[in-house]
């Protein structure tokens, strides 16, 4: 998918491996139970992400708090079914919605010292480290499409794009990269 994107010393766009993804909607009272079953505490503060393990490797867990009652959970592809079953079991007594969205989106990593500048070519958020420090995660816009941005480190961004819009995203990234180099 990232074909045609020019790697430069200032930024690199990498496509993430296939992953299992879920949207979990639930009331705050069920957070602890969900975290226990998931193996990673779900971040309580909105617009924050948490993770452990290495992306795509066994046991890796990501939890992104994107709406008042909405979390995205991202795990290795092979562990999706078991995570789904564990959460359904642990949350049986709570009102909830757990929906698999694995194939809805494509994941990317954008990294390098110019990563924030490149994102800002199409994203209106203040991506300075004071306003958007590592750990922040939110939906926003990149040119004409929506995306999810999670800042994992000062110059490492994890992005999620709707699958059908990914070619547009990669093309506009490449265009912006040319302007920046």
């Amino acid at each position: 998918m990232a074909d045609g994107f020019t790697d430069t010393p200032r930024f690199r766009l990498i496509e993430a491996p296939p992953l299992a993804r879920f949207v979990l909607r639930l009331p705050a009272g069920a957070l602890t139970a969900a975290g226990k079953a998931y193996g990673l505490a779900l971040p309580e503060a909105i617009n924050r992400g948490a993770s452990h393990g290495e992306r795509g490797k066994p046991g890796a867990r990501v939890a992104l708090h994107l709406g008042p009652d909405e979390w995205w959970l991202i795990v290795p592809e092979a562990e999706g079914a078991e995570v789904f079953a564990a959460l359904e079991k642990a949350l049986a007594a709570h009102p909830r919605s757990l929906v698999e969205i694995s194939h809805r989106q494509v994941g990317f990593v954008l990294e390098g010292e110019g990563a924030a500048d490149l994102l800002n070519a199409g994203c209106p958020l203040d991506l300075s480290e004071q306003a958007f420090p590592p750990g922040m995660a939110t939906r926003s816009l990149f040119h004409r499409i929506g995306l999810m941005i999670w800042r994992m480190a000062p110059s490492v961004f994890r992005l999620e794009i709707d699958r059908s819009l990914a070619p547009y995203f990669v093309a506009s990234m490449a265009e912006s990269a040319r302007d920046h180099s």
Binding site: I46, N47, L66, G67, P68, E70, P124, L125, R139, L141
Partner: protein, 105 residues
């Protein structure tokens, strides 16, 4: 770019992440079998169009996804206050309250 404070995110966010969603605090008349055509038409179509402060629904559609309410000045486009859905209009955002200090061209 105009920044709007989302009461759910607790952050100032760029205007283009938001969608306007009509007048706020419009109460749906009911029960349906006792609503007159006039009442229903008023609920659907009749709105004030004031010059000055107006309470509106907005949605942080490219963010947390939530609908909330905002008091905006239709003359200056200043957002006087934003607050969560279901909360009353803050008294300091009343039409006669003092103007915010924030100046915009």
């Amino acid at each position: 770019m105009l920044l709007i404070r989302c009461p759910y995110c607790g952050m100032d966010r760029p205007e283009i992440e938001f969608r306007h969603a009509g007048a706020a605090h419009i109460i749906r008349p009911g029960p349906p079998d006792r609503v007159t055509d006039e009442e229903w038409a008023a609920f659907l179509y009749l709105r004030d169009n004031p010059k000055g402060r107006v309470a509106e629904r907005w949605r942080h559609v490219h963010g947390c996804g939530r609908f909330f309410n905002a008091v905006r000045d239709t003359v200056t486009d200043v957002f006087v206050a934003t607050y969560k859905a279901g909360e009353p209009r803050p008294p300091e955002s009343a039409p006669g309250a003092s103007e915010p200090t924030e100046a915009r061209p």
